[in-house]
């Protein structure tokens, strides 16, 4: 019996057993192990793994050799991703709070409880999701909230993650997501890291770049940072700046390009216009002249920038030398350093501006590229638009024409979709944690695939407070008893990763697909089923929003002329619900030239980058470099570069001026240290998955506070001592690690946020960017006191 036949018979057997296993063209078998492709569950890099399944359980992982993103290599999290399914405390039953206990209930009861919360107060019902929603999951939730319950109260944790990158792209190009892609890393001569530590956070991309050196290629790495990290160890130039002063550094580069005349005059004249905030600040801003722009940048001399940022004037000149040299290819990378910033939109726009001004744009290797932290921050949040103001495909609820387009596709009566955006994340949780009579008009939040009780800033005020208020009801769908699950009133056990079908979209516009490979434990069920089951219950209860204009169920699905009753769980796997939802969603993607191919194309590929455009021979072609004529089919012939979604409708991108301004909270006599939070290579986000993987847990079992050696010496703190960290919002005891995984600059400390037993977000600031509403987790003022010496003996 050939391997393929064995695989096919095993697949058939599996399908017969669970009615779940869908045939995959990539599945292959050897020695009793069936291997199939899936994107990794963790970060936004979007590596593909090969998952080995034996007797219904994941037993091994390999890097996928055919994946362009990772070319067979993974990071330590990716190699251990299969273990994330098997933590001993997986949630397996729906549970309802009775006093201090969560008691098991049936799925039918759970779905009914949710539906009744909606019926009781539709306006006060919200969904809070994440960039870990698969595309179909996010699309179903989006449609339920925007078209069904129609209150627009849906927002994702991605608001905490890449909202400023979105506003930066919108303000500059008029449309979201990077123009370049990972191929830039194979061609760039210079890579500038803007407050970014890819050696730990996007290790596979970092190796893709750094391994070029092993092949004898020259790659200049410049690390603009507030902390010496593992990435710094590879850098040619480490430029340490004072927190929040990255705006001054960007302006310093622009200043020198203008002063020396080394900016790209031709590119700027053909493709750019200039913008600044007017008296009434808007995301689009007000036009300014080139002379005005130049005059405003005049103040940012290298010496002035040195004074503000602490980066030596010579380093600013070095950056300007590089950007002024058009024979080089320069790629900028950034992630949370620029996004979790009260001036996040501004610094994003300024970095795009430096690239546009210097003409380092639109050629392979020449690109400003933002990285994402979640597997589908782009695919689900940004493209499906699961934000309080968003509609699928880059449309927004505030635009009359956009609402009409969405109503058309969803077959809704005109006026169903509301024009008023829902609350953004911080506002949503603030209202949930405020008594009704004091304006707390959100009384139920359904959380899926995220852990806000650990990841929101100032969690005391935004989450914990709601637990003492009558009438507030927290529903959480998750796979493990996270901090949020412990606070919930109703808990729904979810299927994760290869326990369900899925699609996600990574940082480089790549849409990826996988099939269910194993069964979820106990009564755990996919989030998309949970959402659709609630929608159907609402339909059965006669909620009018659950019908389209012809009176059919909002999620009506037919096969061979018969309605598919997928809301009954034993019928859910009769059809591929993911495919049905995706094919409907796909119609939205044409409006902003984010074209997606049919589902079946993604089944075959290790992902494809949009716009994916059908060719005359009916094949589908992906686009690597957007806005560049040589690759993007939507650029007019002869234009070279065209920004076809320009905010000014003339094909031009906007080069912004934003001044440097001091942050909302700075260290002072009482709270003399900067606190920066972030991640480590072993753990992903709140650690709900990685902290349950022994290999990752052993390598980094606990959070810590990283202290600069000089500060530690002065305060007589040694590694292992317990230190109390206190901000104006909360305090926390943490073990100290002097110059640990990184070295913060003197006067600053660093704490990773993965550890639910040491919740650093009780200290962080909820101050946020005025446009993106993204909070700043990277800067607040704390004081540091030594509480106790090291508990254990030094080893």
């Amino acid at each position: 019996m050939g391997a393929a036949t064995v695989a096919a018979s095993r697949l058939a057997e599996g399908a017969a057993k669970s009615k779940a296993r869908l045939a995959s063209p990539h599945a292959r078998e050897e020695g009793g192990v069936v291997w199939d492709k899936a994107p990794c569950r963790f970060c936004g890099t979007g590596c593909h793994v090969q998952v080995g399944v034996e007797a219904g359980r994941v037993v091994a992982i390999q890097g996928d050799q055919h994946a362009e993103v990772n070319r067979g290599l993974l990071c330590v999290k990716g190699y251990h991703v299969g273990l994330a399914l098997y933590g001993k405390d997986r949630l397996t039953k729906p549970r309802l709070r009775k006093g201090d206990e969560l008691v098991p209930i049936s799925w039918d009861d759970a779905i009914e409880i949710i539906a009744k919360r909606v019926v009781a107060n539709p306006a006060g019902f919200a969904m809070y999701g994440s960039g870990q929603w698969t595309i179909p999951e996010g699309y179903a939730a989006q449609k339920l909230m925007k078209a069904g319950i129609a209150n627009n109260q849906i927002d994702p944790n991605a608001r905490l993650c890449m909202a400023s990158a979105v506003t930066g792209f919108l303000a500059t190009y008029g449309v979201d997501e990077p123009a370049g892609c990972y191929d830039d890393l194979d061609r760039a001569d210079v890579v500038v890291l803007w407050g970014n530590n890819p050696a730990e956070m996007h290790p596979v991309l970092f190796s893709r770049l750094m391994d070029r050196r092993s092949r004898g290629e020259k790659v200049v790495l410049i690390d603009l940072t507030t902390r010496h990290t593992r990435s710094s160890a590879f850098a040619d130039h480490v430029m340490l700046f004072k927190p929040n002063t990255d705006l001054a550094v960007a302006n310093g580069i622009a200043h020198l390009l203008l002063a020396r005349g080394t900016y790209d005059k031709g590119f700027v004249e053909r493709h750019c216009a200039f913008r600044a905030l007017g008296d009434k600040p808007t995301l689009e801003g007000d036009p300014i002249s080139f002379d005005d722009y130049r005059a405003r940048m005049a103040a940012y001399t290298p010496e002035k920038v040195q004074e503000i940022s602490g980066v030596p004037a010579a380093s600013i000149r070095l950056l300007a030398d590089l950007f002024g040299d058009r024979t080089l290819r320069i790629t900028s990378l950034w992630c949370m350093g620029m996004n979790q910033h009260t001036r996040g939109t501004a610094i994003n726009a300024l970095v795009h501006g430096v690239h546009l001004l210097s003409g380092h744009f639109g050629k392979p290797g020449d690109a400003p590229t933002s990285l994402t932290g979640q597997p589908s921050a782009c695919g689900t949040v940004r493209e499906v638009g699961t934000l309080a103001h968003g509609l699928p495909g880059g449309l927004v609820v505030t635009n009359d024409a956009h609402r009409r387009e969405a109503e058309e596709i969803w077959n809704l009566p005109p006026g169903r979709i509301q024009a008023k955006p829902g609350y953004h994340t911080v506002e949503l949780w603030r209202r949930f944690s405020t008594p009704k009579e004091q304006g707390g008009d959100i009384d139920t939040i359904w959380v899926q695939v995220t852990n806000p009780a650990q990841s929101l800033p100032n969690v005391h005020a935004l989450v914990d407070a709601s637990r003492k208020l009558p009438g507030k009801f927290l529903i959480v769908s998750d796979v493990y008893p996270t901090q949020t699950v412990r606070l919930a009133d109703l808990v729904l056990p979810s299927a994760m990763w290869v326990e369900k079908n899925g699609m996600v979209g990574n940082s480089e516009r790549r849409t990826q697909q996988w099939f269910k490979m194993v069964d979820p434990p106990g009564d755990a069920r996919p989030d998309v089923w949970q959402t659709l089951a609630v929608a159907r219950k609402l339909y059965d209860l006669g909620v009018p929003g659950m019908k389209d204009k012809d009176g059919k169920f909002l999620f009506h699905l037919e096969r061979d002329g018969k309605e598919v009753r997928f809301w009954e769980y034993d019928r859910f796997h009769d059809v591929n619900v993911d495919e049905a939802l995706f094919e409907e969603y796909r119609r939205f993607t044409r409006f902003k030239h984010k074209d997606l191919a049919p589902y079946s194309e993604y089944v075959k590929a290790r992902g494809m980058r949009w716009p994916v455009v059908e060719q005359p021979d009916h094949t589908w072609r992906e686009t690597k470099f957007r806005f560049a004529e040589f690759d993007d089919p939507y650029v007019k012939k002869g234009a070279g570069v065209e920004f076809y979604h320009s905010t000014t409708k003339d094909g031009r991108a906007q080069i912004w001026f934003h001044p440097y301004e001091p942050p909302p909270e700075s260290p002072d006599a009482e709270y003399p240290f900067w606190l920066c939070t972030g991640r480590v290579v072993e753990h992903w986000h709140t650690g709900s998955m990685t902290m349950r993987i022994p290999q990752l847990h052993r390598a980094m079992p606990q959070a810590y506070v990283e202290i600069n050696r000089d500060d530690a010496r002065r305060l007589r703190i040694q590694s292992g001592d317990v230190v109390t960290l206190e901000s104006r919002r909360g305090k926390l005891d943490l073990p100290a690690w002097v110059d640990g995984r990184g070295s913060p600059v003197p006067g600053s400390v660093f704490v990773p946020f993965f550890d639910e037993t040491l919740l650093i977000n009780r200290l962080t600031l909820e101050a946020h960017d005025p446009f993106s509403k993204q909070p700043d987790y990277k800067k607040c003022a704390v004081k540091l006191t030594k509480r106790a010496p090291a508990a254990g003996k030094p080893r």
Binding site: A3, A23, R230, A699, Q702, G740
Partner: protein
């Protein structure tokens, strides 16, 4: 007498001269050993450059390799001389093989997982892993295996330590996880008695067979003929495990697009 007298005077002069010389030498000695701080010229200005303070004793364990690393770097080639010869005769029992497979499993979540690091490493800078793992070394029964794959510079991307890297950290129990990893295969398939076995595992990230099967490998896994270099001349890898499957647009037999 005169003669005696003049002789005595000369001797006296000589004694006085000798006493004077001794005295001067003594004073000179005293001056020499005395603190001459008062007499040195004005202190030199401090050099313009500042030096990082030397690490304290408590911090020494964190400083992995100081400026003297090159002094002991030279010792590595000598250490690797402990390795057996590739021509040594190898005799293995079933128990040896099981012991070797068991030893591998202790450091890996499943066969093919990147092994964890059983010793401390620099957590911030790039540790010099290749000093030992570049060619393999053996010291007093402990083996630093040769890297099994092509060079990647960010070693800590895939390999992590197997105990808390933070000095003075309390022990925290590892989480309970029910994952059962794919076991390492014990033997490849043979077409007939005496035929060279096929390679029973993936060769991805394991293309350097000598890493495990060479002279620095665990005894139970050592090749009986480690001097031979071209392993795949006789031992065939698996196209399936090495992801060399051929899939057309329509997919292999048995697959049909989802309706």
């Amino acid at each position: 007498m005169t003669a005696d007298g003049s002789e005595g005077a000369a001797r006296r002069v000589a004694h006085v001269a000798a006493a004077l010389a001794l005295g001067l030498a003594f004073v000179g000695f005293l001056r020499g050993v005395r603190d001459t701080g008062l007499h040195v010229s004005a202190p030199r200005p401090a050099p313009a450059v500042s030096y990082a303070p030397a690490p304290g004793y408590a911090e020494l364990r964190q400083v992995q390799r100081g400026p003297n690393a090159r002094l002991y770097d030279a010792a590595f080639p000598a250490l690797s001389r402990d390795l057996p010869s590739a021509h040594d005769e190898v005799r293995q029992t079933k128990e040896d093989r099981e012991a070797a497979v068991g030893a591998r499993a202790r450091r890996r979540a499943y066969d093919g997982a990147p092994p964890t690091i059983p010793h401390a490493v620099d957590q911030q800078r790039q540790p010099p892993c290749l000093a030992c793992h570049g060619s393999g070394a053996k010291v007093a029964g402990k083996v630093a295996t040769r890297m099994s794959h092509a060079r990647h510079d960010n070693c800590l991307q895939c390999h992590v330590v197997d105990s808390d890297p933070r000095p003075g950290a309390p022990r925290v129990a590892a989480p309970d996880n029910g994952f059962v990893g794919l076991a390492s295969p014990t033997r490849g398939a043979r077409a007939y008695d005496g035929a060279p076995p096929t390679i029973p595992h993936s060769t991805l990230m394991r293309e350097q067979c000598g890493s495990c099967h060479g002279v620095a490998g665990l005894h139970g896994m050592r090749s009986t003929h480690a001097h031979r270099q071209s392993c795949t001349q006789c031992h065939a890898p698996s196209a399936t495990l090495d992801q060399r499957e051929i899939t057309g647009a329509a997919g292999p037999a048995g697959w049909s697009p989802v309706p």
